[in-house]
């Protein structure tokens, strides 16, 4: 018994070291975000000393020079807007196409499943053309694009859940005089809450981190997301401001980590559910 106990402590020790090593890359970026920009490439692994420490200057540079705050704002707007729209629209659609059996609903379901396999490169050029023509190249318009492109996974996951809801509940509600809309919002929606959380988390992770779709769809003179700004900072010819990049990286990571730590259990469950179905 004692021997086993010792082994478990050794395991904890080993994994503590492994865990620290695992988050080391993020810590290195954090350390460098407080260093003078010329020292970042030269000695990235040293702690900031008196000579190299600049306080929050890099953060100020990133926010002032590259309009990082407005990018954060647009990213938040696009993510929250798209996820809400996706959740409402696709869950309604999924309920309808599972409950009503016509050739049309079967086709919609098959197309949704099919769209999950298609890589973005297949549609990226034509999609950006369509977005341009239809003036969907704004943060409001991109929500519609995200609804269209994200519908596949969401409809699929919601359909899987709707199938497991006993029909009698809805039947009872409708016989009691509920319209389908009322039935959906006061009976079906509350039952599907766990699926809403899973789908919401999967779509949030995707849209928050997405780079190529907003890069091709948005009017870049007016609107940028965080990923786009970071790519711009690095890709712009001439001097690359390493300090500002480090600050931007940290500012991009912080919301994600807060989000993760505050609803960690749901995220891990949601991911597992999404993977098993996808």
């Amino acid at each position: 018994m004692k021997w086993k106990n010792k082994l478990s402590w050794a395991g904890t020790g080993i994994f503590t070291i492994l865990g620290v090593v695992y988050i080391l890359p993020i810590l290195v970026v954090l350390i460098n975000s407080f260093k003078k920009k010329v020292f970042i490439n030269k000695e990235p692994f040293t702690l900031p000393a008196e000579k190299t420490f600049v306080g929050l200057e890099n953060y100020r540079a990133a926010i002032d020079k590259y309009e990082l705050l407005s990018a954060v704002g647009w990213t938040v707007f696009i993510t929250i807007g798209s996820v809400l729209v996706i959740l409402i629209c696709t869950s309604m659609c999924a309920w309808y196409i599972t409950r009503v059996n016509t050739r049309f609903t079967k086709l919609v379901y098959l197309l949704c499943v099919f769209s999950m396999v298609v890589p973005f490169q297949m549609v990226m050029f034509t999609l950006s053309l369509i977005a341009d023509r239809t003036r969907l190249n704004t943060p409001w318009g991109i929500i519609i694009i995200y609804l269209g492109f994200g519908a596949g996974l969401a409809v699929f996951m919601f359909c899987g859940f709707v199938k497991s809801i006993p029909l009698e509940i809805e039947e009872a509600a409708m016989i009691d005089g509920c319209t389908p809309l009322r039935t959906f919002f006061s009976v079906v929606l509350p039952i599907m809450k766990p699926t809403y959380i899973s789908v919401g988390i999967l779509e949030t992770m995707w849209i928050w981190n997405d780079f190529l779709l907003p890069y091709l769809v948005l009017d870049l003179n007016k609107y940028k997301t965080i990923s786009i700004i970071i790519q711009y900072m690095k890709g712009s010819y001439g001097r690359v401001d390493m300090g500002a990049i480090m600050a931007a990286l940290i500012l991009a990571i912080i919301p994600v980590i807060i989000f993760y730590l505050s609803c960690q259990k749901h995220i891990i469950k949601g991911v597992a559910a999404g993977a098993v179905k996808g």
Partner: protein, 294 residues
């Protein structure tokens, strides 16, 4: 007289009838967006792969010449082999480590929950951000040896493997842990009583019981490998001289980097799509048949 609907008609018909009128409210918003965001670009994409164009309005039908050009493009062929190798290596590395971690973190040990949290974390960070984090670290190390990530395609290759493993091991680990926890305890106990060594228990009990999870993870990591774009763009951007360019990035560069080659880019995209679909189907069939055998 009112007919008792529920008992005379097929189950669900009552609900169906009531719902049908509401089709526009329930389905149309999603369907319109889906048409605009997926169906229309997909069909247009297939059509345009047979055309020469710079914008859609000047598209001219040219038959299979785009596809021929795509196959003749040596950079594209190189990117295919590079991507295939990458997908296979990353598949092995990610799954071996994820499985080992899942085994370790389901043992009786203090702090397993915290460790799971930590290992999963990188998965939430976006591809562009990941690429620049690791570029800083790799170039910081490599500068001691007077080289850099963008100078050598194999440094870029292994850099990308490390990056992707760091990102995805935690994700696959979560799926494996869910699988491990669903193995009934009495099976393991029975094996133990029958005198199976721990090595035998791993290969004869755990792995076969885990086949569904393994199917999912293998499938996920190989398609992730083929579809990789953001990380490739931010870590090496295809350098040196497009030698570390993977398929998705190559397609992007054909579209937006070479005027007059848009049609070829679309043809490459169609080929890429067919490839991803084919891998998915092969994979599912191969592992499904194994699941049946056990």
């Amino acid at each position: 007289m009112v007919r008792p609907l529920l008992f005379t008609e097929k189950e669900g018909v009552f609900v169906e009838k009531a719902m049908k009128r509401y089709m526009p409210i329930f389905v149309l918003p999603t369907f319109c967006a889906f048409t605009l965001g997926f169906i229309a670009p997909f069909i247009m994409g297939i059509w345009l792969s047979f055309c020469k164009f710079t914008t859609v309005t000047d598209a001219k039908f040219v038959g299979f010449s785009n596809y021929i050009k795509a196959f003749q493009d040596t950079v594209f062929r190189h990117s295919f082999w590079y991507t295939a190798l990458f997908a296979v290596v990353s598949l092995v590395v990610i799954n071996v480590f994820a499985f080992a971690l899942a085994m370790a973190l389901t043992q009786k040990m203090r702090g397993t929950n915290i460790f799971r949290t930590i290992f999963f974390m990188p998965n939430l960070i976006g591809g562009i951000v990941l690429g620049y984090i690791w570029q800083l670290i790799f170039d910081g190390i490599l500068s001691n040896y007077n080289t850099a990530l963008k100078l050598n395609e194999w440094l870029g290759f292994w850099g990308l493997i490390i990056l992707v493993s760091w990102q995805q091991i935690g994700y696959m680990m979560i799926i494996y842990i869910a699988g491990l926890q669903s193995i009934p305890g009495d099976v393991m106990e029975a094996a133990q009583i029958d005198g199976a060594t721990s090595w035998q228990r791993l290969w004869k009990v755990t792995v076969p019981m885990m086949m569904p999870s393994i199917t999912i993870c293998v499938f996920l990591s190989i398609t992730n490998g083929f579809k990789l774009f953001d990380q490739n763009l931010s870590l090496t951007a295809g350098e040196p001289a497009k030698m570390s360019e993977m398929m998705a990035l190559n397609i992007y560069n054909t579209f937006y980097g070479r005027t007059g080659w848009e049609g070829v880019g679309q043809a490459k995209a169609v080929l890429f799509f067919l490839l991803v679909v084919m891998i998915g189907m092969l994979q599912l069939r191969a592992t499904r048949s194994k699941e049946v055998q056990q």
